[in-house]
């Protein structure tokens, strides 16, 4: 367990992971459930345990859609999406941690793709 990383994720997310009662509702409602190796309730639990590096290495951090379903539907107000965001930021902020580079964009464009998709993806996947 990496204490500094845990501190950083807790501070950055502003989430109190101890409020979680492990009901799994966040994962049940998550539209990316099938694509994720670790699910929203596991993010909360693993951050509590300080097992952040495993999450940072997992593809799951790029699968969250920031749809806030888990935030509004958690009966304890834990706001798991904030934890996912904080872990993803910890990963993309690392040297060479960008998931998406501006030079990758041209290959992803088509004539109808809205600017919104590009700016949002850059915000989520790059620093």
């Amino acid at each position: 367990m990496n204490k500094n990383l845990k501190e950083q994720v807790l501070r950055s997310s502003g989430v109190n992971v101890l409020k979680c009662m492990r009901c799994g509702k966040c994962s049940a409602t998550c539209p990316s459930y099938d694509e994720m190796e670790y699910h929203p309730h596991q993010f909360v639990y693993m951050v509590e345990k300080g097992d952040i590096e495993t999450l940072m290495k997992s593809e799951s951090i790029y699968k969250c859609l920031t749809c806030f379903a888990c935030v509004d539907r958690c009966p304890r107000g834990v706001e798991p999406a904030r934890v996912v965001e904080a872990v993803r930021l910890a990963a993309v902020r690392q040297q060479g941690g960008n998931r998406l580079e501006p030079s990758d964009i041209p290959a992803l464009l088509d004539e109808d793709l809205p600017q919104q998709a590009i700016v949002t993806a850059m915000r989520k996947y790059a620093k």
């Binding site: 501070r11 950055s12 997310s13 502003g14 539209p31 990316s32 694509e35 790029y62 699968k63 859609l65 920031t66 749809c67 806030f68 379903a69 935030v71 509004d72 706001e79 999406a81 904030r82 965001e85 904080a86 930021l89 998931r99 998406l100 992803l108 088509d110 109808d112 793709l113 809205p114 600017q115 919104q116 998709a117 590009i118 700016v119 949002t120 993806a121 915000r123 989520k124 996947y125």
Partner: protein
């Protein structure tokens, strides 16, 4: 960064808008600071053109601040992200300085700006960091009232009043409202409608004479930006939204979000037509041809 540059066509429309504003000031015209956002200037011009034409016909003046920047499309919930929140604070402050409420049409802009407003009024540390960066004449600590265009129709114009102005009603048309995620959630910050049983777009559909279709996926995400990262996932999500609407007998789907429109049209594999709600509004008000000239 995406540069914000109005093309010749767009700036002409703003000028026309402004003349209308000055002509009608002093009458019962409500004036809003209007934040179009980057996509409404480019891929989603229809969303913008029809919104402007319809507002004018409904007695609502939209004034666009000169210096707005793209909001970034997604609110960063992280407390240690400050720079990514600045453009939303700038436009909130422009509205405050103009003494006007702020209005947006794009679901994503609306989401970013309302979450920023929510946090800056409650999180003192964030507010002080943001203001240290911005160095405004007077620090911005909240207070601007933010409307989505649909809220303006409901709360300022009123759906009853709107109904009276309809000249081309969508009688007998079965229309599915697609909320997606960013119009409604997080509900405590957006405070627009009940996040699990929303009615605002269905009420809009009734006001323009149509029949709303309720379907399970109307407030679940279409996949959003994941289309850039994992096309298959975007196809699965948007396909599920469209087949849910089709199963309930919808003839068309309407949305307020350019990225929803893209996903539902390009990634869903469905042929069901998808439109911006502003296009139906302009058509109902008899403005569609005029605003395309």
């Amino acid at each position: 960064m995406i540069a914000v540059s109005a093309d010749a066509d767009g700036s002409e429309k703003i000028c026309r808008g402004n003349t209308a504003v000055s002509r009608q000031k002093g009458f019962a015209m409500e004036t809003f600071t209007y934040y179009p956002g980057c996509t409404l200037r480019t891929k989603a011009k229809e969303l913008d053109t029809y919104a402007r034409a319809s507002a004018q016909a409904l007695g609502i003046a939209l004034e666009e601040p000169a210096d707005w920047q793209c909001c970034g499309g997604a609110y960063t919930t992280a407390k240690d992200e400050i720079a990514t929140k600045l453009s939303a604070v700038r436009v909130l402050n422009s509205a405050k300085e103009a003494g006007q409420p702020l209005i947006t049409v794009c679901s994503a802009c609306h989401n970013v700006i309302k979450q920023t407003e929510y946090d800056i009024t409650r999180d003192e540390e964030m507010a002080s960091k943001v203001n240290n960066y911005l160095g405004l004449a007077e620090p911005y600590t909240g207070g601007t009232k933010v409307y989505h265009y649909l809220e303006m129709l409901r709360d300022v114009v009123g759906f009853d009043k709107l109904k009276e102005k309809v000249v081309n009603p969508f009688t007998g048309r079965k229309i599915a409202a697609y909320y997606g995620c960013l119009l409604l959630r997080p509900a405590k910050a957006l405070a627009m409608d009940d996040p699990e049983n929303p009615t605002i777009i269905e009420d809009f559909i009734r006001a323009i004479g149509g029949t709303p279709v309720i379907y399970a996926q109307r407030n679940e995400c279409c996949g959003g930006y994941i289309t850039m990262e994992d096309k298959a996932q975007a196809q699965k999500r948007s396909g599920s939204v469209m087949s849910s609407a089709e199963d309930m007998g919808a003839e068309m789907v309407i949305t307020a979000c350019p990225l929803c429109l893209y996903n539902l049209k390009k990634n869903s594999g469905s042929d069901l037509p998808v439109y911006y709600f502003t296009e139906l509004l302009a058509e109902a008000l008899g403005l569609k041809e005029a605003s395309n000239e």
